[in-house]
């Protein structure tokens, strides 16, 4: 079953070559690149049948075996629903991007980021291993960062990208901690193994509450729940297809996916219930109200997305079969209409040159197809029959009416949010196209086919799904819901359930929604006044306070440590070393003099004498060159000592390092003033001397003690025994470097490269500007 691997990694591969594909066919790159998501959509569609019958598909191989980390994928009802959203909408968005950014010099790079995101997102929803899930999770944050900051020459785009990365990235770290703790409790990082064990071990563990908070911190930051919702509206700095894809249809749903995925482990706990219902409810209402305040099409849609994410969280928190079905149905509904609305917003911006709802009107004649697409999506958003949005809303009402706790409160909140949704749908999807034509910055014209095909298809699917709700419900929603609830369900979805409370609530919603739409101007002013008054204590201000505080602290610390004086750096390093190592040595290792008399051979004593003389010369000398040569003598002496004690590898390396160091010093001297300025006072010289003596004394004591102290069993015998059998080498030093500890070496040569490039940068920068940076 390697199909799942191919499904995830083909996106990364295509992302790597996307810029070249774009260069080969700049006009058609969107259509060409969209063939991969299209093929993946077909691949996942083929799985609908078996999965609706209850099958699940797995694939996996060992990644880091000794940590229990596998790259394992699982395709079940829940992942399938997400996979189809990701690849299906992905196809349309890739096509759309080709048209939206036509002629943009960086379109190739954009395609690469977009495909990388798609692959990462597939990885998130297919991963069965907690660590793999975390890695893909962070990859989505990273690609989101690149996409929001795509227009990187604007400061606002950069700031928004950074904000999204910081908020979702920190949440991701919390999630990792939570997942690792869960892995300890269950003894396995495989999510399906945890599910098989059930919620018992987790919920009876004293760490249950911290784990719950950590996991939800990850989910809430990603899915923009209050108070972490602030990054999402700012992420609208990204181009329209990104907003449609990442920030409406897929990435922001990753948190919802996570909650749904781990629900069987956490469900039943009152904390889980109240955290989800509380945060979800607040987010749902707050997002809807703030959407009314905005005038920019994309920001309105962003806040309504925040609200929709709150609705999803709330529904999952209710933890009834009906509520879970409602959440998953609404997830599908929302992905379809919100994706379409974002894309039409981009098309309107493209065609008319403005996204301000106050400036737009009567565009239906100039942009008939876009108007049709937006209208279809808006009617689904408003929940008008026979659109799928109506089915979604009905199910939500049935779910909240069946809530086990706080039924009145939850139902009124859902009613309020839904009626605001009716108004918002009309404002963004209908209002710009009807009425008299308004003056816009550009003469409005219809978008090219790349720009209208996506939203039109999404809108049409929203309508088609509403006409056959039973099939959609059975094939997608029920299978996914049975995964979330960990038991099978057989509810029937239909447009018409007969007269009941839900239908009555729908009628109220629609009537009240129309009223709100009519009274939108005074309402918007009212909401704006309240949100303005609350701004000083709001989370947006809090984010900047924390950010500024962190940067200020970093600046302070930097000012203390990075003074620019080499001798002060050395002072810090040496003080710390002497302090920490000395403390450990005297209080933990019990300093001792070796009992056996050291056998010093005469030539060793002679060599040491030479080195001592050289060291004293280095101190006393006033000429730099003499100092360097004297230090070189000390260094070569050390190499000889290595040779005496049977370490030719070390000796050889030491000799070469000494040689190159002397050359380096000599070269640097060209750049220094001719004379050593001995302006340092006697007190400073005394301090230098004492530090030098302390360092030397400490190292001596350390070496003498280290000979006798053995805290852990020595690993040397393992290396010498296995060097030939495991690594096929006689030279243990080299085998350790390239095989046993090869990973360390890889890190070291990476650091070496970074240092080399750093020095290069500093030198070039200096000579380029003619002044020290």
């Amino acid at each position: 079953m390697t199909g799942l691997f191919t499904a995830v990694f083909s996106g990364f591969l295509l992302a790597a070559v996307a810029p070249w594909v774009h260069r080969l066919a700049p006009r058609r790159s969107g259509w060409i690149l969209a063939s991969l998501p299209l093929a993946l959509t077909a691949y996942f569609v083929l799985h609908i049948g078996p999965i609706a019958e209850g099958a699940a598909f797995r694939a996996g191989f060992s990644w880091i075996p000794f940590l229990g980390i596998r790259l394992s994928f699982l395709l079940d009802g829940l992942s399938l629903l997400f996979c189809l959203l990701i690849t299906g909408i992905g196809t349309l968005v890739v096509v759309y991007s080709g048209g939206y950014l036509k002629g943009h010099p960086e379109l190739g790079r954009f395609h690469a980021y977009l495909l990388m995101f798609m692959a990462s997102m597939l990885g998130v929803v297919l991963s069965d291993n907690a660590i793999a899930l975390f890695v893909f999770w962070e990859l989505t944050s990273l690609s989101s960062f690149f996409l929001i900051g795509f227009d990187h020459e604007r400061a606002a785009a950069r700031a928004a990208a950074l904000q999204a990365l910081l908020v979702t990235g920190l949440g991701g770290l919390a999630l990792m901690a939570g997942l690792l703790l869960m892995g300890r409790i269950y003894g396995s990082l495989e999510l399906s193994r945890m599910m098989a064990e059930g919620s018992g071990p987790l919920q009876s563990n004293p760490l249950f509450l911290p784990i719950l908070i950590l996991v939800l911190a990850g989910a809430f930051t990603k899915s923009a729940q209050f108070p972490f919702h602030i990054w999402l509206p700012n992420a609208m700095e990204a181009p329209a297809p990104v907003s449609a894809y990442l920030h409406a249809a897929t990435m922001v749903k990753a948190g919802v996916y996570l909650v749904a995925r781990v629900n069987p482990l956490f469900a039943g706990s009152p904390f889980w219930f109240w955290m989800l219902v509380g945060a979800g409810g607040v987010t749902m209402l707050l997002g809807a109200c703030l959407a009314m305040v905005e005038t920019d099409l994309k920001r309105i849609l962003a806040y309504s997305t925040v609200s929709a994410l709150g609705t999803l969280t709330l529904l999952l928190g209710l933890d009834t079969i009906r509520a879970t079905e409602a959440a998953l149905a609404f997830l599908l509904v929302h992905g379809l209409y919100k994706g379409a609305l974002f894309l039409t917003a981009g098309a309107v911006d493209h065609g008319a040159g403005s996204r301000n709802v106050a400036e737009l009107g009567g565009l239906r004649r100039a942009m008939p197809i876009t108007a049709l697409a937006a209208g279809l999506a808006a009617l689904s958003m408003a929940g008008i029959p026979p659109f799928f949005g109506f089915v979604g809303k009905e199910t939500i009402y049935q779910a909240v009416l069946g809530s086990s706790a706080a039924r009145g409160l939850v139902t009124s909140a859902a009613l309020l949010a839904n009626l605001l949704f009716v108004a918002i749908g009309l404002i963004v999807g209908i209002r710009p196209f009807i009425g008299a034509l308004k003056e816009t910055p550009q003469h409005p014209h219809e978008a090219p086919v790349d720009l209208w095909i996506g939203p039109l298809l999404l809108g049409a699917i929203g309508l088609a799904a509403g006409l056959v709700p039973g099939a959609v419900g059975h094939d997608f929603v029920l299978r996914a819901a049975s995964v979330v609830m960990d038991r099978t369900t057989e509810t029937h979805f239909s447009l018409w359930h007969g007269w009941n409370t839900a239908v009555a609530l729908s009628l109220v919603t629609f009537a009240a929604g129309l009223t709100v739409f009519a009274a939108r101007h005074p309402l918007s002013r009212g909401f704006a006044r309240v949100s303005g008054a609350l701004a000083p204590v709001g989370p947006a201000r809090g984010y900047f306070r924390i950010l500024d505080g962190t940067i200020g602290m970093a600046r302070g610390v930097t000012r203390v440590f990075q003074s620019g004086y080499l001798n002060r750096y050395l002072l810090f390093v040496l003080f710390t070393t002497v302090g920490l190592a000395g403390y450990t040595l005297f209080f933990r290792a019990r300093l001792s003099w070796p009992e056996e008399v050291l056998h010093v051979r005469f030539y060793e004593a002679g060599l040491v004498a030479v080195m001592l003389v050289a060291a004293l010369t280095a101190i006393r000398s006033r000429a730099r060159l003499v100092t360097v040569i004297a230090l070189g003598v000390v260094g070569y002496g050390v190499s000889l000592l290595f040779l005496f004690f049977g370490a030719p590898d070390l000796a050889m390396t030491q000799i070469l390092v000494e040689t190159l160091t002397v050359i380096l010093f000599v070269l640097i001297f060209y750049r220094l003033p001719q004379v050593i300025v001995l302006s340092r006072s006697a007190g400073m010289r005394l301090l230098d001397a004492s530090i030098a003596l302390a360092c030397g004394g400490l190292m001596t004591a350390l070496v003498l003690t280290a000979v006798r102290v053995q805290w852990r069993p020595s690993i040397a015998s393992y290396f010498s025994e296995h060097s030939l059998s495991l690594a096929k080498g006689h030279n243990i030093v080299n085998v350790i470097l390239v095989d046993f500890r090869g990973f360390d070496t890889l890190g070291e040569i990476t650091v070496l490269s970074a240092a080399g490039i750093g020095v290069y940068g500093l030198l070039k920068l200096r000579s380029g500007r003619g002044e020290a940076p």
Binding site: D649, L656, I663, H730, L737, I749, S753, G756, I757, Y760
Partner: protein
């Protein structure tokens, strides 16, 4: 300040030292040597040539950009670690050919890794030293 003796010697020393560095790299798995020392010897050889004949000529003789050496070395080391993944083994598992190659001895991914180390050490040292000499 060009010394004729140094210039003449450097011409002969460069190929000898360079071959010696490769020799060190290849024998490193069984006898003292290895990519790190080999890289340092090669760097010393080019620096010596650079001091004797000027960095321009040393660079021309090297042909490739010193920073490219860094990149290629890092990629080589990484690739040697990634190679076992294709066979379902863990990252950086040592893979060896069954039969030793004449002169070179047994070949395997650790040898590729060591070559990467060699190139990175050579590239980093030369990047720093050449640029210091130049301006």
């Amino acid at each position: 300040m060009r010394s004729l003796i140094l210039a003449a010697t450097a011409r002969f020393l460069l190929p000898i030292l360079f071959m010696f560095s490769i020799f060190l790299l290849v024998r490193g798995h069984h006898l003292p040597g290895g990519g790190f020392v080999g890289g340092l010897v090669a760097a010393a050889a080019f620096v010596l040539y650079g001091i004797a004949h000027g960095v321009e000529e040393a660079r021309a003789l090297l042909r490739v950009n010193t920073i490219s050496l860094l990149g290629v070395g890092l990629l080589l080391a990484l690739a040697s670690g990634l190679l076992p993944l294709a066979g379902g083994e863990a990252f950086m598992t040592g893979l060896w050919f069954q039969h030793p190659v004449p002169v070179l001895g047994k070949l395997g991914t650790p040898v590729i890794f060591d070559t990467g180390v060699y190139l990175v050490v050579l590239g980093a040292t030369l990047t720093v030293l050449f640029n210091l000499v130049e301006d």
